[in-house]
Symmetry: C2
């Protein structure tokens, strides 16, 4: 085990270990910690109209300052800044990670392979703006002159999770110009469900794949092409591609309605501010809304890059995660937005965090013996209270990030119930949960005893306008990257998904043979898989 | 610590501890275990057209037989059988737990408080059948004679999660007669989203609340009543209640279109086979489909009750969970159905399992020091592969339950891609993942090294017809209850949700005062909550 580059070997972490004795002391129980003087004031930060409260985390001034020191020792923010300048931070794949450049509205230059990349990015956005306008003002219509009403994203993982989160968030505050749908799963029932919801005649299909080789996406695209043909419709009128320059999806030999470029230096799970999110969101809400989303993300990017560590919100948040998973030994974290419109946030962050941080080697490829990525899961509150909060209060403890939105999107007249409106009821619940988790409650009846001391953070934004959704996105991206940098892992690669793909290829090969010749005897795979393929071909249990 | 009634004190667990030395041995690595002779045959069971494969769990014959012995020592199946006979198994609330009775088509009698409960259950189902038929054949219409097109469930937690799972599963195989929507969250934006999807004139609203006091549900109902009134519509024409006999929702003074009874001996998260699921699902698909769902659930209930422990699928599965969380010390489990139609299964089981098992006291109210409930989460495959499977393969290990469906619902002509159809591609991936997780792969490049030895089970059903969805439901219910019985906890109560409710009440009180008088100074709550209410009233960050 080479720990030379690990946070475990920093002076600050050594010093933090001297603090561990406190953790189970009575005065360190959150019910007491949160009552220390100026707790909220000292353990919260507000920047860019984004409020972050970590007063209910199991840390004190000393631990906080050591965590900050650790980030300074490790030069975390400098490395983050390098990333935004185009340094090859994704070393294993020899790539830059320039998601921040896709929302950079400054006039600076960022070089990749000695070429300033910003003009290309601006060019793509301009094309998105013009194209979506033409759809909205009916310059581009169906062959028979009808306006398009729906767009289906054909894409999986990073090609849809982020867009699904942002689309659902913005639905609460904006009228749609087109409705979006997501054809992600290769399961044919996903295709079946999708076509049951649309009018094929007025639907656009947007294939999103950087390489244009992702099996699921290509299989679904193939299915869609078959379906278009059966309905006498053509890709020239209905299909749009978002893909790398020069990929098969960008080949004039395969004519489509329009094609938008993705860049090599932007990874799938970080791609929502590129054309991956830009095109669908501009079609749904108009380019201006998407641009505001970018502006919000950029504002928080700048904060992450430029603000001193001890006031840097995503950096503090990432240090707390490292503390929670490595000092306090939690194994999971919940994301609980008290906002129905943020119902797809947790699935997006689940990917962003678990795919970025679920690693077992350092950047320099030594095996790791500390906790990297944890399980991330969540549902909106108050729903979560009626689902798994029993366990959160009395079972296995896990830290939670609450998110509150000051103003709901719903603007029409509404009723009050028992003297409060629904939004106030929602907030009363959010506030009560973080407090109850922290304080607990004694009871002579053990079944009604609450241990408390369960940490949480709370994020508050003013509303779900595009700028704020952009900030939320940037916050989670920066937090994840900071965590990766502290843990000395590469948050941009995902070699862990390769073995499954390789095995699937072997199994697929056998299926292809058997599809060609039903008497072919499957042999090149393990016995159990063979047994299962027998069930599949028999169409029943045996 | 009183361990007298704990599984830790059984002879079998003592004997199991003598097996722990094996766990890290090379021959016990799953890549070797799964190649032992007749592994699949000996470590799988098939009953009721339900196939359960536990050959990729980290157990051998000896461990399996000791786990079975443990369940015999603890008389788990006898206790389960008692439950189905109406014994008060929910001791802390002094109630029976008779979800199995709601699908019991035998002619037996089950007594609660000296009264046979089956006639009442049959009566409710009969009423559901007649009522849904009247809606479908337009005997009951809107005031202006139109057919109803949509139904919105107003309910939270157990009043909607199960129904949402089953509704989405059945959508893949059945045409709807009415579309269902779910108004669960008290967030006013949830109401806003709901009304954007329906035609108010032809919509039924189904309030589901046993006590008719659940705050979120009552607040949403109040909002709906306000909305109906504004649209000149009445509850007599549009509102249905599913509630306890004699609750305010069952009061003739508050006239509604129809009212259906829930029973005290059925808990929320176990209520999907009562009127809670029965009414909405019958409206959506017809009563016959719901009845087939019940029949499937009953068939697996009988298996759970009557089949010898060593062949008992949900019992074996529960023992493996206890083994995984307490001997192998995993902290979370994934549920990964390779079926888009099962996308709402994991959120339902998340509630079912985490609310049932996230406990810290035994039935006799002693504190516990072993692992009870773990984190349960999941997304459908192959989507999950492109989200968090990086971590599953190379990060923190957690056991997974895969679910495969032999026949998809989609029956129309489809294309092949590269020689396989989409459903075959789906299965190739499912099989490859469990294999890759088990076997891992050596590589000189540490970043491409897969440790393997990551356990999984696989469930196979023939299709998503109602009977099979019923079996899936019963399997998870029985598994959860068996786990509770092994852990000696009460899987039917949820005292852990009370403290949050109590705190919310205190906060709500202050809001009510301030709503009455804006100059009222909030004081009776903690400073942090006060700060947050200031933001809420200011409608912005300060």
């Amino acid at each position: 085990m080479n720990k030379s580059n690990s946070f475990l070997n920093t002076d600050a972490w050594q010093s933090l270990q001297n603090q561990f004795y406190k953790l189970n002391k009575k005065e360190f129980h959150l019910k007491n910690l949160i009552n220390t003087k100026n707790r909220l004031k000292n353990f919260s930060k507000q920047k860019c109209n984004f409020f972050y409260d970590y007063s209910k985390q199991r840390i004190d001034e000393k631990i906080f300052s050591e965590l900050i020191k650790m980030s300074e020792e490790l030069m975390i923010r400098e490395k983050f800044s390098d990333m935004t300048d185009g340094v090859i931070v994704n070393q294993s794949e020899n790539r830059a990670a320039l998601q921040t450049a896709t929302r950079d509205f400054s006039n600076r230059k960022i070089f990749v392979d000695n070429k300033n990349i910003l003009p290309d990015i601006i060019q793509v956005n301009k094309k998105i703006k013009q194209f979506s306008l033409k759809i909205h003002n009916k310059t581009i219509t169906t062959k028979s002159g009808k306006a398009f009403t729906d767009a289906v994203i054909i894409g999986i993982g990073g090609s849809y999770l982020g867009c699904n989160f942002v689309y659902n968030a913005l639905l609460s505050n904006y009228q749609t110009k087109l409705n979006l749908h997501f054809l992600s799963n290769v399961d044919i029932d996903c295709f079946g469900k999708t076509i049951s919801k649309i009018n094929i005649e007025t639907t656009l299909w947007i294939v999103i794949s950087k390489s244009y080789t992702t099996i699921e996406t290509m299989a679904n695209l193939n299915q869609v092409m078959f379906y278009l043909k059966n309905n006498d419709l053509t890709p020239e009128n209905h299909l749009i591609t978002v893909t790398s320059k020069g990929s098969p999806g960008d080949d004039p030999a395969n004519p489509v309605l329009e094609s938008f470029h993705m860049f090599d230096f932007i990874g799938g799970r970080y791609s929502i501010t590129s054309a991956v999110g830009g095109l669908p969101l501009s079609l749904a809400f108009g380019y201006d809304v998407f641009e505001n989303f970018l502006k919000g993300a950029h504002e928080l990017d700048e904060h992450a890059k430029n603000t001193d560590n001890k006031k840097n919100i995503p950096l503090i948040s990432s240090l707390i995660n490292v503390w929670n998973f490595n000092a306090l030994e939690y194994n999971a974290a919940g994301i609980i937005p008290y906002s129905d419109a943020l119902s797809k946030l947790a699935p997006h962050i689940q990917q962003l965090s678990m795919e970025s941080l679920g690693k077992s080697v350092t950047q320099d490829k030594n095996f790791i013996d500390y906790t990297t990525g944890a399980i991330i899961f969540g549902e909106p509150g108050t729903n979560a209270q009626h689902s798994f909060f029993q366990l959160a209060h009395q079972g296995m403890a896990f830290p939670i990030e609450f998110i509150g939105v000051i103003n709901p999107g719903f603007k029409k007249e509404q009723a009050e119930f028992n003297g409060v409106d629904n939004h106030q009821e929602l907030w009363a619940n959010m506030l009560s949960q973080s407090y109850a988790l922290a304080t607990g409650k004694d009871n002579n009846d053990n079944a009604k005893f609450f241990p408390g001391n369960r940490p949480s953070s709370t994020i508050i934004i003013e509303n779900l306008k595009a700028e704020n959704v952009g900030k939320l996105l940037s916050y989670y991206e920066a937090k994840t990257i900071f965590e990766g940098l502290i843990l000395n892992i590469n948050p941009f690669d995902q070699f862990g998904v390769e073995l499954g793909k390789l095995n699937a290829k072997n199994i697929r090969k056998e299926i292809i043979e058997k599809n060609k010749n039903y008497n072919y005897e499957i042999r090149e795979i393990d016995d159990t898989s063979k047994f299962y393929l027998d069930l599949l071909y028999s169409k029943r249990l045996l």
